[in-house]
């Protein structure tokens, strides 16, 4: 099913015209209203009028996550605050979070894109949508919420957590659509199995899962255990939230809503745009957002684009599922974790030195985080209970800072692998697919 056939199935030539028109307009607007962008463009000796084709986009400077933090909180907003009606934010807890502003038009656009996403997976006005994404600053909850309402579906805004209650409501309300992170869906499956609840007897038929990378293998597991069809969606706070790309019923990649976001694939080392079909870092440009339109935002997500027409009729480029990131950011159970945050915790603990390594694994459905901390002269005590106290203290601090449980393992001094004097901070052993 297609929500907005006119745009989603627009012939590519026409789509390119629309993209160019919108690109020119957003560049002019951002150049005029965002001094940070203007300065960068001026430094390259460019003017908005130099953007005459879609290829000219490549002349413009990238914007990185780091720069978004530098301009925290509202430095890249392109509209006056009085036009901003909502704020969302990424989960940066010790590092500065990325703050996204939305005008009323932006919220309408977002709801439209989420309506496309949910419709592509088969959601209609007849459906009851249990939205188990977190509500709040996180874009997942409200993003799904307004998209489902736009379609006319019945939304159950349950947010995340309390799995027993999730199941009770799912059963009693006759919920047909579930939205949450893929790892949480398996948590739900696990509790259902413990309770002896037969998922096949429920009306649940489709789930929309995102906000963390997941594999085809995990999709199979979710589908078997929850007895749903599992759909992938993609988005990020910096661009709009969920609603940047989503799968259609053919599930042969995620259609990027190119009428609003222009994707590019670059070589992360050189910054050069790669030919179609090659794998590289995904770069996105918002062409229609008003309050917070990023231009050439480096997502750090590794992806590949496919431009061939899809059987569903949509003409949009398809990206493969995101299987990795160019930097160290980890998504653990839907929570963004930066090694620097762990470092900050260790620095704050008198006994511990920030020589550490993060090891992420899959334990059943859940991601687990192990933090290995080197024991040095200062930390070492002849008493086991003292060392165990330090372990508990670190775990407690990480839990209160990041909201995730980490297993702390003390390791011998100078054992954490260092390359060129720089410690390797992250070992991600989750299967990427």
């Amino acid at each position: 099913m297609i929500w907005d056939e006119k745009h989603e199935c627009m012939p590519r030539e026409q789509l390119k015209e629309l993209q160019l028109k919108r690109l020119k307009s957003v560049v002019r607007r951002v150049y005029k209203n965002v001094p940070y962008f203007r300065k960068k463009v001026d430094a390259l000796g460019l003017k908005p009028a130099d953007i005459q084709s879609l290829e000219d986009l490549q002349k413009l400077p990238f914007i990185t996550k780091h720069e978004l933090r530098e301009t925290y909180p509202f430095g890249l907003f392109a509209t006056p605050m009085k036009e901003v009606v909502r704020i969302h934010s990424s989960s940066g807890t010790t590092g500065k979070p990325v703050v996204a502003g939305y005008t009323r038009a932006d919220l309408n656009l977002w709801a439209e894109l989420m309506a496309r996403t949910l419709t592509a997976g088969g959601t209609t006005a007849e459906d009851i949508v249990q939205n188990a994404y977190g509500y709040g600053l996180f874009t997942g909850g409200l993003g799904i919420h307004y998209g489902a309402e736009k379609i006319g579906a019945t939304v159950v805004p349950i947010s995340g957590g309390n799995t027993a209650r999730q199941l009770l409501i799912m059963e009693d309300f006759g919920v047909t659509v579930l939205t949450c992170t893929p790892s949480y869906s398996l948590q739900i499956a696990e509790v259902a199995e413990e309770k002896g609840l037969d998922m096949r007897k429920l009306k649940l038929r489709v789930g929309f899962f995102g906000a963390e990378p997941w594999s085809d293998e995990m999709r199979k597991e979710i589908e078997e255990r929850l007895h749903v069809r599992a759909m992938d969606l993609y988005g990020l706070t910096e661009v709009i939230g969920p609603g940047v790309a989503a799968e259609c019923e053919h599930r042969c990649g995620l259609h990027i809503y190119e009428d609003h976001f222009i994707p590019e694939i670059i070589d992360p080392d050189t910054g050069k745009v790669k030919p179609d079909g090659q794998t590289g870092e995904l770069v996105l440009t918002c062409t229609t957002k008003q309050a917070f339109p990023v231009i050439r935002f480096r997502t750090r997500d590794i992806a590949k684009l496919e431009y061939g027409k899809c059987e569903c009729g949509r003409t949009f480029a398809r990206m493969n599922r995101v299987t990795g990131r160019t930097d160290d950011m980890l998504i653990i159970r839907g929570v963004n974790v930066f090694p620097s945050q762990i470092e900050a915790v260790l620095v704050g603990i008198e006994e511990a030195e920030p020589h550490y390594q993060l090891i992420v694994r899959k334990d059943g459905p859940m991601d687990t985080l192990e933090v290995q901390v080197e024991v040095d002269q200062q930390l070492f005590s002849d008493e086991i209970k003292r060392l165990e106290q330090v372990e508990r203290k670190i775990a407690h601090e990480i839990a209160s800072m990041l909201g995730i449980h980490a297993k702390i393992t003390l390791v011998e001094p100078k054992t954490i692998e260092r390359s060129m004097g720089k410690a390797k901070r992250v070992i991600d052993l989750r299967k990427e697919g």
Binding site: D382, L387, T409, E412
Partner: protein, 144 residues
């Protein structure tokens, strides 16, 4: 009356105790007593070595997390009930033992155990009054 014990932090992995033993070998240091305590994923190797200060600096130079701690060495009759009698005295004096292990060599009809206690100086005074024989560091580090 206080004995210097050398403790080393070790991960629970094959070959790690040997790495410490290897350092001592290279420095030509003999062991008098040794014990390995373990938790879920790490261990602490505690040793009484003939030259504790040298052992400390050798191990530190080899990038181990190492610590010197003070312990006492108590002589125990090498016969059934020997330990029980000595510990009876400890109990009477209200001394709590953190951990203990025995010395490798036997000294005629006596055994020697190494004990870690809190408030070591007080404990030494109390035990002396009870006529518990505590060994001097020379006795422990040297040939017993």
């Amino acid at each position: 009356m206080k004995i210097k014990q050398v403790s080393v932090f070790l991960e629970n992995k094959p070959g790690h105790v040997r790495m410490v033993a290897e350092e001592l070998k290279k420095a030509n240091l003999n062991l008098r007593a040794i014990s390995l305590a373990d938790s879920e994923d790490f261990g602490i190797l505690r040793m009484v070595v003939e030259n504790p200060d040298k052992a400390y600096s050798v191990l530190k130079a080899a990038k181990h997390a190492v610590q010197e701690t003070e312990v006492i060495a108590v002589e125990v009759p090498d016969q059934p009930g020997g330990l029980s009698d000595v510990l009876g005295t400890f109990e009477k004096c209200g001394v709590n033992i953190e951990y203990m292990y025995s010395v490798l060599e036997r000294r005629s009809d006596k055994a020697v155990i190494i004990l870690r206690v809190e408030s070591i100086d007080e404990v030494i005074e109390k035990l002396k009054k009870q006529n518990v024989r505590l060994l001097s560091s020379n006795e422990v580090y040297g040939a017993l």
